[in-house]
C-alpha cells in the first residue's frame, strides 16, 4: 500500500477499553500517525500499549487538542464536559469524532478484531493437524511405559524393583505432562492476549520444543546464534506461531539429516531473525507460491498449506517483513525483521510510568 499523501494525524482522548481498541487497530494502519493518547487515569489500559510504541501518553488532554498538526481528534471518553472544551481549544483545521460516530467506529473495530481472532484460531487449529501424529508418537511411548510398569507392580513383591518401576512411571508421566502443557499453551485462546514486549529467545526456544513434536529431531543439529536482549512487540501467541511454522517447515524439508540454524541480530531499529535449513530447498517456480493460502507440496493430510500464509499475515500485522532465499538441494533461509523495542523489565516499566 503506497500513496503520496501525507499520513493522517490522530489524537485519541480516552485510554480505556474503547481508546485501547482504537489505538490497537490504528497501529496496524500505515497511513495513520498517532500524536498521542490522553486519559485522566494515569494507569489507563491503553497507556501501556502506547508506550510500547513510543506514542506519547498524558493525563492532560489540552496539549493533544491544541496541537496544530492534528487532523482528527477522537473522543471516546464519554465525558459530557469534553466536547465543548475540545471545540473551544482545537485548531480550526482539526476535525472531531465523538459521541455516536465514535461509538459506531468502535463497534466496527471490535467486530473486525473478533472476526480476525476467529479466523486466526481456526487456522491455528488447522495447522495443529500436522502435529497430531507426532504428538501421538511422543505420548504413546511414555504411556506404554506407565501402563506396563503399573501392571508389573501389581504382581511384584520385591520392594527394590517396585521402587524402580515407580520411578520409571513417574518420569514417563512427567514427559506426558510436559507435552500436554506445550499443547495447551499452543491452543490456548489468544483472544484476550494483549500486546506485550516479547522476549524473542524465550519464544524461539518454546517454538523449538513444540516443533519437536511435529517431527522427531533425528539427525538434525540445531545451531543458535542469538544476540542478547532483543525484544519486539506483539501477541506472544502469534509470534510463537510464526516461529513454530518456520521451524516445522525447516525440519520437514530436511527429512532426516541436516542442520537448522537460528540467528538473531539487531540493526537500524530492526530486529532480524534468520531461520536456515539445509533441506530440500524450493524451486524458483514454487518460491512464488509458498505464501499463498493452501499451497503445499506435502502429501494430503500432512500439510494444510496455511503455515506460511499465517506467518505472513502475522508478520505484516506487526509491520514486519519476511524474505526467503532458497537453493534447490541446498537449503532455505527465511529472514524476518520487526521494529525493535527496548526490552522491558517490569521494574523499569514502573519507574517510567509517568510521561508528559
Amino acid at each position: 500500500m503506497t500513496t503520496d499523501e501525507p499520513p493522517i494525524t490522530i489524537s485519541i482522548l480516552g485510554a480505556g477499553q474503547g481508546g485501547t481498541a482504537m489505538l490497537e487497530s490504528f497501529l496496524n494502519l500505515p497511513h495513520i500517525r498517532l500524536l498521542g493518547i490522553a486519559d485522566k487515569n494515569p494507569h489507563a489500559l491503553g497507556f501501556r500499549l502506547a508506550r510500547l510504541h513510543n506514542i506519547p501518553t498524558t493525563s492532560h488532554p489540552l496539549k493533544l487538542i491544541q496541537e496544530d498538526t492534528v487532523n482528527l481528534i477522537i473522543d471516546v471518553t464519554g465525558d459530557p464536559t469534553l466536547p465543548p472544551f475540545i471545540a473551544e481549544h482545537k485548531h480550526s483545521s482539526a476535525e472531531v469524532l465523538g459521541g455516536t460516530a465514535a461509538k459506531v467506529l468502535l463497534e466496527l473495530i471490535q467486530h473486525q478484531t473478533f472476526i480476525q481472532t476467529q479466523l486466526f484460531q481456526s487456522e491455528k487449529l488447522a495447522s495443529l493437524g500436522t502435529f497430531a501424529s507426532g504428538i501421538a508418537h511422543d505420548i504413546n511411548n511414555p504411556l506404554y511405559i506407565i501402563l506396563a510398569m503399573a501392571e508389573e507392580i501389581r504382581e511384584e513383591n520385591h520392594l527394590e524393583r517396585i521402587r524402580e518401576h515407580a520411578t520409571s512411571i513417574y518420569e514417563a508421566a512427567q514427559r506426558i505432562q510436559a507435552i500436554s502443557r506445550n499443547i495447551t499453551d499452543y491452543v490456548r485462546t489468544s483472544s484476550h492476549q494483549e500486546l506485550e514486549s516479547i522476549d524473542l529467545h524465550a519464544r524461539l526456544e518454546e517454538a523449538l520444543s513444540i516443533s519437536r513434536f511435529a517431527t522427531k529431531f533425528r539427525e538434525i543439529t540445531v545451531q543458535k546464534d542469538y544476540q542478547n536482549g532483543l525484544a519486539i512487540q506483539g501477541k506472544p501467541e502469534e509470534i510463537l506461531q510464526v516461529f513454530i511454522n518456520l521451524i516445522t517447515n525447516a525440519i520437514h524439508a530436511m527429512e532426516e539429516k541436516g542442520s537448522l540454524t537460528i540467528s538473531t541480530s539487531h540493526s537500524n531499529g530492526l530486529v532480524q531473525i534468520a531461520i536456515s535449513d539445509t533441506g530440500s530447498g524450493i524451486s524458483a517456480q514454487n518460491l512464488q507460491k509458498i505464501f499463498n493460502p493452501f499451497f503445499s507440496t506435502k502429501p494430503k493430510g500432512k500439510g494444510t498449506g496455511l503455515g506460511l500464509y499465517n506467518v505472513k499475515t502475522i508478520v505484516k500485522k506487526y509491520q514486519g517483513e519476511i524474505q526467503v532465499e532458497s537453493e534447490e538441494g541446498k537449503g532455505t533461509t527465511f529472514r524476518l525483521s520487526f521494529p525493535s523495542i527496548p526490552p522491558i523489565s517490569p521494574l523499569k516499566e514502573m519507574v517510567s510510568s509517568e510521561q508528559p
Binding site: 508418537h137 505420548i139 511411548n141 511405559i145 520409571s168 522427531k216 539427525e219
Partner: protein, 143 residues
Amino acid sequence: MAETTAAMFGGHKTNGLVLVVDDEPDVRKVVRMTLEKAGYDVIEAEDGEKAIQEVQKGENPLMLDVIISDIRMPKINGVEAINYFQQQYPRVPLIVLTGFPDMEMATGFLKKGIVDYLVKPVEKEKLIKSVATAMEKRDLNRL
C-alpha cells in the same frame, strides 16, 4: 546384556531369543519384562545400527528367533533396519512396535511380510501372542 548372552550359550532351554530395538531404555525394559515372563530370552539394541551389530555378533543371526523394532529412531531408523534385516536374514520374522499409529505404513509393512504392526501402548497378551505367531513362522521358515 551379558546375562542373556550367557543364558544363550549356557544351554538352558527357552521359548526363543528375541531382539528388541527401541531408542528408549524403559520401553526395552518393559518389553523385556513381558517376554522374559513368557519364557523368552531378550537382547536389546538402541537403534538400527546397534541392532545390525548385535545380530552380526557371534552366533546371534543363527540363534535369533524374532526381531521387534520401533520405526522412528536416530541413526539408522527402523524402516531402514527392517529392510536390512529382511534382506540379510529373511528367515527371522519381524514385528514393528511403534507409538506411531499410521494405517498406511502398517499396511505397507504387512504387505512386505512383517508379522505384526503393534502400536504402543500394546497389551501384554497381544505382544506375547504376536511373538508366538512369529515363532511359528520362524519354525516354518526353518523347515
